[in-house]
């Protein structure tokens, strides 16, 4: 099941709004491409998290490998809130590695969410990203409308990743 004949994977590639749960189900069914998409979606968050907890860059990459390996092993769980589920896997891994009180550190959670947001931003057009980061560049109503639309798209992307509730 490594080609786009898998409807879940084909949908995921065509649509970045595919939910994490769908990706995990496809991963549990044996799709490596769905797992690749899942890794691509969350490796920024995992690395951001590890960059705060671990000093050695090589160890950060190793931490990411362990977290995603665990996620792959437990993909059959397919929870509804995958982002929180993966974050808990990260906390468990950190606890086993001896990082003190990882689950109570708010800055770690903020970093995790920041990683998810950064990955979601990569699905926007470059001009939209720039306008979101520097709204003072909007000079007319068209730019202002782009900002509003880009924020709406970003919200939908984050909702698919469980960071925000779906609108409505």
């Amino acid at each position: 099941m490594d080609d786009l004949s898998d409807p879940l994977v084909a949908t995921a590639f065509a649509n970045p709004f595919t939910t994490d749960t769908a990706l995990l189900r496809a991963t549990a069914a044996g799709s490596r491409q769905a797992f690749a998409l899942f890794v691509r979606r969350y490796h920024t968050a995992a690395y951001a998290w590890s960059s705060h907890a671990l000093d050695n860059p090589a160890l950060r990459a190793r931490f990411c490998e362990i977290v995603f390996r665990k996620a792959r092993d437990r993909a059959t769980e397919a929870p509804s809130d995958v982002s929180r589920w993966l974050l808990e896997i990260g906390f468990d891994t950190a606890a086993q590695l001896g990082v003190p009180n990882a689950s109570t550190q708010q800055d770690l959670k903020a970093l995790w969410i920041g990683g998810v947001v950064k990955e979601a931003l990569s699905h926007l057009e470059p001009l939209d990203r720039e306008l979101l980061q520097r709204p003072e560049l909007a000079i007319d109503e068209i730019d202002q409308s782009r900002i509003t639309a880009a924020l709406g798209k970003l919200r939908a992307l984050l909702a698919a990743r469980g960071v925000l509730r779906k609108a409505g």
Binding site: R32, F35, A36, V39, R40, H43, T44, A45, Y47, A48, L54, D55, N56, P57, L59, A61, R62, C64, E65, I66, F68, R69, K70, R72, D73, R74, T93, Q96, L97, G98, A110, L111, I113, G114, G115, V117, K118, L121, E125, L132, Q133, P135, E136, A138, E141, I142, Q144, S145, R146, I147, T148, A149, A150, L151, G152, R155, L158, V163, L164, A167
Partner: protein
């Protein structure tokens, strides 16, 4: 991404930049005043503000090292086992204190590895070097030197002989001689020189000119006249003459010696190999054509549209896996066609695919002077198909029947 024009009475286009705090003070005050009175815009701005707050979190994220995702994906998948199994010792990461010492530890391990390799090299390399010039004098060798003791039986031998023994070069001296005392005695003067092996008469030798150990020019100058019976060209003549044959008979026999026979055999083998290769290539070609034809049947179908009888040929081929149909339309009038293809199900497939579940539908346009090929996916993996329907947008008046 399109943009919504400002709705009448609602500053929708400004809500995003308002959430980001990028409006001018005057615009911001106007928008805030509108939001106080408009529940629709208030609901929208609360959603956007939630996203805008998260944007600042993304700025804290450091740059990801390139290739991280690929590294994660190329990691070998874990073996099946208990999901809650604790990390093994190899999986665990060192604590903070251990991390600080990691640089020193790595350097120590590197030094240790280099020492092991150096010891290993010192132990192994001398064993593999057995040439005399690389041997140390016995006085310089340590008592526990791993070097083997020099073989006293070889010490008296000249260097060439030692080399010959080390390299186990074939020598006629060490082979059982079947040529009699004449040939053995002919080899004895060159016993202690490193020369190519003495060729057996009548057989191919890799050293055709150097086997006598003389200079080729000298060899040529000293080559005997082949017509002179008193000076036979081949040392084996003496042995053969002693068996009662005259030199002429010997020469005649020599002409029939295995050289020519061997060459003839080689030519025959070469011809046989050529014929075999040609036969193999031809059979492979025919086999390939046969397989392709059997897997890719062409169906020349005369089809009808919903408007008029139109004769055309629709070639249907399948790809190698049988999952894709290539339709090539020929002799169709210009127009847009829709087609439905139904695989002829085998009895086993009839149980798998319900009725009409494997129909592949598609459309194609026929343009004059262009080849029309359309690909359709199919769920059935075999080569027999039938056309369920073919429709065209061609009106009756303009439909032409090609010749």
């Amino acid at each position: 991404m399109g943009w919504d024009p400002p709705q009448h009475g609602h500053p929708t286009h400004k809500l995003g930049i308002y959430a980001l705090g990028g409006l001018s003070p005057a615009d911001e005050q106007t928008t805030r005043r509108h939001l106080e009175n408009c529940s629709l815009c208030r609901a929208q701005i609360s959603d956007l503000e939630g996203v805008a707050e998260l944007l600042s979190a993304a700025e804290l994220v450091p740059d990801i090292p390139p290739g991280l995702a690929a590294r994660i994906l190329t990691t070998h998948p874990p073996q099946k086992g208990p999901e809650s199994a604790p990390l093994s010792r190899t999986d665990s990461l060192p604590s903070d204190g251990e991390q600080k010492n990691m640089g020193e530890k790595t350097a120590r391990e590197k030094t240790s590895k280099e020492k092991v390799w150096r010891d290993h090299k010192e132990e192994i390399l001398p064993r593999s070097i057995s040439f005399p010039e690389n041997r140390k004098p016995d006085a310089q060798q340590s008592p526990d030197s791993p070097l083997p003791e020099a073989d006293p039986s070889r010490e008296h031998l000249p260097r060439t002989e030692t080399h010959r023994l080390n390299t186990k070069h074939p020598d006629t001296k060490h082979q059982p001689s079947s040529l009699g005392p004449t040939m053995s005695s002919a080899a004895s003067p060159r016993e202690n020189t490193h020369t190519p092996p003495e060729p057996i008469p009548g057989t191919w030798s890799p050293f055709p000119l150097a086997h006598s150990g003389r200079d080729p020019a000298e060899e040529t100058a000293r080559s005997p006249d082949t017509t002179d019976p008193r000076n036979p060209p081949f040392s084996g003549d003496t042995q053969l003459s002693s068996s009662g044959l005259s030199p002429d008979q010997v020469r005649e026999l020599l002409n029939q010696m295995p050289v020519k026979k061997t060459l003839g055999r080689l030519a025959t083998i070469r011809r046989s190999i050529g014929i075999a290769v040609f036969a193999l290539a031809t059979s492979t070609l025919f086999l390939t054509i046969f397989v392709l034809q059997s897997r890719s049947p062409d169906h020349a179908l005369s089809l009808s549209t919903n408007t008029d009888e139109i004769s055309g040929i629709l070639h249907v081929r399948t790809n190698a896996s049988g999952s894709l149909l290539h339709l090539e339309a020929k002799d169709f009038p210009e127009g847009i066609y829709t087609v439905e293809i139904m695989p002829e199900k085998t009895p086993s497939e009839k149980n798998v695919f319900p009725e009409n579940s494997a129909i592949s539908a598609g459309s194609f346009q026929v343009v004059k002077g262009k080849k029309t090929i359309v690909d359709l996916h199919t769920a059935a993996k075999h080569g027999e198909f039938r056309i369920l329907s073919l429709h065209s947008n061609i009106p009756i008046a303009t439909a032409e029947i090609p010749e």
